[in-house]
Symmetry: C2
Subunit: 412 residues, 2 copies
């Protein structure tokens, strides 16, 4: 077969992720490889750990990358923390809560869930009641669920978990760097993320951090590596609570990233270069500044879609800064509008899943694309496409409302 | 903390992998992202499937990438094909046989192994006796085990598996593109690989292919996704043989790469760009030409280390073209020699694992580095370092013997 060199069309990715990678990240990823035990490589690994401690705001020694997409990080955390039969509590308020449940079930856990309508969040009291009722070993909750655009407040849950002797895990793939977050202050034992949203990188590497308490649980499930154990009996001895995955065995992954440097996988070097650069960009900007940038451009986009006359979906009080869900006007076909935006303007906005499929678009302002020109261009194009599809629209209302936000912020 | 931009030292990577990436692969990976359902992206995915059908020499529809390092591919194959209690037969002749055993054990399989001394391979009769004795559902065997440099002949095993109703799986991470291989001719049901050896890319993406018979087994273990099922009972119904991992659930991954385009993970776009370019390079060169290139430069390296007066380890009849194991002379410290080669000449050669640790170096001639200048430079530098460490060495003997090989081949 004949195929052409990679040369993707230029797109402005304003959906719920992936978004355009920061060009600095792509440049870092184009660097040549070094060996996995080269002093340059192990230094890069150590620096990456230190950088992500800043990004997660944690002192956890075990702060590293899982080689895979965001859900690789989720599965590594759950399969390493949870043994078959362990109880796990998952508050579900969107698609990714379902995913946490499913991964925990496949790990053999006894999973208990509480559910809320998509677009809303739980109160601390609701979560405490469920903890008391189910006595879980692990509370696993998504921070921001991109499927609904809202974020579960995590404040107070750490103290609850401490009080009830529960490990506290959250996935911040959708929220990290776009919304205030501090792992240690929140009392978290495990946090996982991905690069393809507010971190401005490609999917394929999952930064994660684990508290000393989580590390203790994981290390207690350590098994003897088959190539090292002296007999099959010795291996079989520990099977009961043995971590069910080799690839996601965090005890082994810690030994690879740590002083022992025991070979596990061959680190995905180019993805590490990229993940490291994502963190450097954030640390240079300052985490608080990055969150403020996402708040500003997210507010401008929110005002803009309102200014066009569109209705916003979900609990605005708990909306993430970096993505807004917009109800698709009755007059138009949502996918046709998205298609025309992509084909004629090179701009991508997102659809949604489950109960929201076909009902809302999701528009992101994330990472490299949390920028004024990206916001204004998207609103201008959306107005034109809506107009051509016969939707009622306020001419200039979107861009105008966004300009007002920037002017109020002194950013116009 | 302050950290500098990625700027790795220039290295010539002549170990057992990773090796230097082909610059074309790095350029492909530096391309900007597109959305995961962008027509450009789904075309790239389809082209990648078609390209890897050529690389694996298969007609299998289900030929795709697993997002992770090589062992992610291995775990996806095993955990999706093997249900708890299923019998798996693993012939072990090096480190990676132990890995297959361990992954199958963690998947809950009843694993039977046969073992041979590292550096040797099994006869077809030995494998048939074990199949008859253990009646496995799956035969899982590494093709080339980099830890020992030898490759298990796979010819005949497909017919054996067919005859005894066994699924036939091999991992070709170390051997693919450097040694003759044809998945369909060999009667394979599952094959996994990685980019970081003869394919000339970075670690982090695992090409894999699955026969219709394997797909049938995998689809029979399909479970209802938690976010879609109507009740917990419906999910629980299928738990017995349910695939134990979400991330490695090939049934879901097939639906993401296939016509349904059901969202599973967010494809690691930059790694896909790289994996696609690795395959394009091979298809352009021609698979047979690539194997011949690895044979030529591997032969030159083999002759060269012999010409220096060093002793080669392992069964030469079954040696892979792309890596040679060399006994460390008694007079020298193996790690000190490797360190000096790296620090003073910028050249990396490999150490080894398990029973071979400290006894042999492993020198690769793989992918982008299966080149005459890489071979000659490595031999010239190795001679100088050995000399400075007081090892007996034939002056000019390494480079001379390699030149002779090139001259005989008309390549000097």
């Amino acid at each position: 077969m004949s195929s052409l060199p990679i040369n993707p069309p230029p797109r402005l990715l304003m959906g719920p992720g992936p978004i355009n990678a920061d060009p600095r990240v792509l440049r870092a990823m184009s660097a040549q490889l070094v060996g996995q035990y080269d002093p340059a490589m192990t230094s890069y690994m150590n620096e990456t750990m230190a950088l992500y401690r800043e990004v997660f705001r944690t002192a956890n020694e075990q702060t590293l990358l899982i080689d895979g997409t965001s859900r690789a990080g989720i599965e590594a955390a759950i399969v390493s923390l949870v043994a078959p039969g362990d109880r796990v509590l998952v508050p579900i308020f969107g698609r990714f809560g379902h995913l946490l449940r499913e991964i925990a079930e496949r790990a053999g856990a006894e999973v208990h869930v509480i559910e809320r309508e998509w677009g809303t969040v739980f109160t601390e009291a609701e979560i405490e009641r469920a903890i008391v009722a189910t006595k879980p070993a692990l509370l696993a909750v998504v921070h921001g669920d991109t499927s609904t655009t809202v974020a579960q407040p995590l404040e107070g849950l750490g103290a609850l978990c401490e009080k009830h002797g529960v490990l506290f895990y959250t996935d911040v793939t959708a929220s990290l760097a776009g919304n205030a977050f501090a792992a240690d202050e929140l009392g978290l034992d495990a946090v996982t993320a991905g690069l393809q949203k507010c971190l401005g990188g490609p999917s394929g590497s999952a930064p994660a951090t684990f508290s000393p308490r989580a590390v203790e649980v994981i290390e207690s499930r350590k098994s003897i590596e088959a190539g090292i154990a002296s007999s099959a009996d010795e291996i079989a001895a520990s099977t009961d609570r043995r971590i069910r995955s080799n690839y996601f065995d965090l005890a082994m992954i810690f030994d690879y990233w740590g002083a022992k440097r025991l070979n596990h996988h061959t680190e995905a070097t180019s993805m590490l270069y990229g993940a490291r650069e994502c963190a450097r960009l954030l640390v240079e900007e300052g985490l608080a500044n990055a969150v403020e940038r996402h708040r500003l451009h997210g507010t401008a986009m929110l005002a803009g879609v309102g200014g066009l006359g569109l209705t916003v979906f979900g609990d605005l009080e708990h909306r993430m800064n970096n993505v807004v869900a917009v109800e698709i006007p009755a007059a138009v076909n949502g996918d046709a509008v998205r298609g025309e935006l992509l084909t004629d303007f090179g701009i991508e906005i997102g659809t949604s899943f489950g109960p929201l499929h076909g009902k809302v678009w999701r528009i992101g302002t994330m990472g490299y694309n949390a920028r004024k020109d990206a916001v204004l261009t998207t609103l201008a194009a959306l107005e034109q496409v809506l107009r051509r599809h016969g939707a009622p629209v306020v001419g200039g209302g979107g861009v105008g409302a966004a300009y007002d936000v920037y002017q109020d912020a002194g950013a116009a």
